[in-house]
């Protein structure tokens, strides 16, 4: 299993830092940090759990965001999904 981090200032104006552990195209652990906002309370932590054992692909990540019903301020779901994918990709070669 490999892990990698991707950190970026997003178009929404906030800094987002994604740390991913992945194995064979599957997300094992995702930690999303930064100075963005997520609603309602607890939704970001719930999303992190919902991403565990999901396939590292954009549709699956966006589906998890929708299922949890998290609303972000300062980062767009698309941007976040792309960062998670990028970290998962890098984790392969770590």
């Amino acid at each position: 299993m490999g892990s990698a981090r991707v950190k970026r200032r997003c178009a929404g104006g906030k800094t987002v830092d994604v740390e991913v552990e992945a194995e064979g195209g599957v997300l094992r652990k995702v930690l999303i940090s930064g100075d963005f906002f997520a609603y309602p309370e607890g939704a970001l932590e719930e999303l992190e759990r919902a991403l565990e054992n999901r396939g590292a692909e954009k549709g699956a990540i966006l589906a998890a965001i929708r299922e949890v019903g998290v609303e972000f301020l300062g980062v767009k779901p698309e941007e976040l999904a792309e960062m998670i994918l990028e970290a998962a990709e890098r984790a392969k070669s770590s």
Binding site: G12, F37, P40
Partner: protein, 247 residues
């Protein structure tokens, strides 16, 4: 409206108790104005403490570092240089989007600053700036149908200490066209070119929020339940090393 200074643990806990009080129907919508005694740093719920704060320096200076339940960035709360506010209310009092509610509450700060003779503007998501420099940052959390928004208004913050304690990513400063945090922030005293007192800032904030939120404020004290709940939450959450440094 409540005024009461406390340490960082109690302050964050009382804001959360007021949020919980609104959620359970035990607390009325409340504006709270307060100071941090001693000076403290609060960090956003999702931040990594050691990456955004010089934790060793904070320890040396006796500055507690506490994680908020709200998102957003790290804030230096200078005991003698900023007023922190919190607004707790049912979400139903703020129709529209989450960003609309930030704008509406921050309008109270913009109005307060204008009463002091300066022109400020709200910059989404959560800043109030004067001439492009940040003078206030706010952060909101929503728990079911209750919201808490708290934030700082700097009137005489020691900006050198602020710059020493907070670590701001270079990309963030670059995006604002500055190379150090010192160039990116300001205070009411700097902008007005005179020493601004805490009490005049508080009075302006009371008038500003009252106008912007179209409410009549009545001064009060936290209820026994709010205090007891705050003490419980301070112990369980905000004094916990795991909560403050666990991310």
């Amino acid at each position: 409206m409540l005024r009461r200074a406390g340490d960082a643990y109690f302050n964050m806990a009382l804001d959360e108790a007021l949020l919980e009080g609104v959620r359970r129907g035990l607390s009325p919508p409340t504006l709270r104005l307060y100071a941090f005694s001693p000076s403290a740093v609060t960090i956003g719920r999702f931040q990594r403490a050691r990456e955004v704060v010089d934790v060793e320096l904070a320890e040396r200076l006796g500055v507690p570092v506490v994680r908020r339940i709200t998102g957003g960035g790290a804030v230096y709360h200078d005991e003698r240089g900023e007023v922190t506010y919190s607004v707790t209310a049912p979400v139903s009092l703020f129709p529209g989007s989450i960003l609309d509610s930030y704008r509406k509450i921050c309008a109270g700060l913009v109005r307060a600053i204008s009463l002091l003779g300066l022109e400020a503007e709200f910059v989404p998501v959560n800043d109030v700036v004067i001439g492009g420099k940040k003078i206030s940052g706010s952060a909101q959390v929503r728990r079911e149908f209750a919201l808490l928004q708290h934030g700082t208004l700097m009137y005489a913050t020691d900006l050198d200490t602020l710059a020493d304690l907070l670590r701001v990513p270079r990309e963030k400063l670059a995006a604002h066209g500055v190379s150090s945090i010192r160039e990116r922030v300001t205070t009411l005293s700097i902008e007005l070119g005179r020493q601004v007192s805490r009490s005049e800032v508080e009075e302006a904030m009371i008038a500003g929020f009252s106008e912007a939120l179209e409410v009549e404020l009545e001064e009060g004290e936290p209820s026994e339940w709010e205090i007891a709940e705050a003490e419980r939450i301070a112990q369980e959450r905000y004094r916990s090393r795991d909560w403050n440094f666990g991310r």
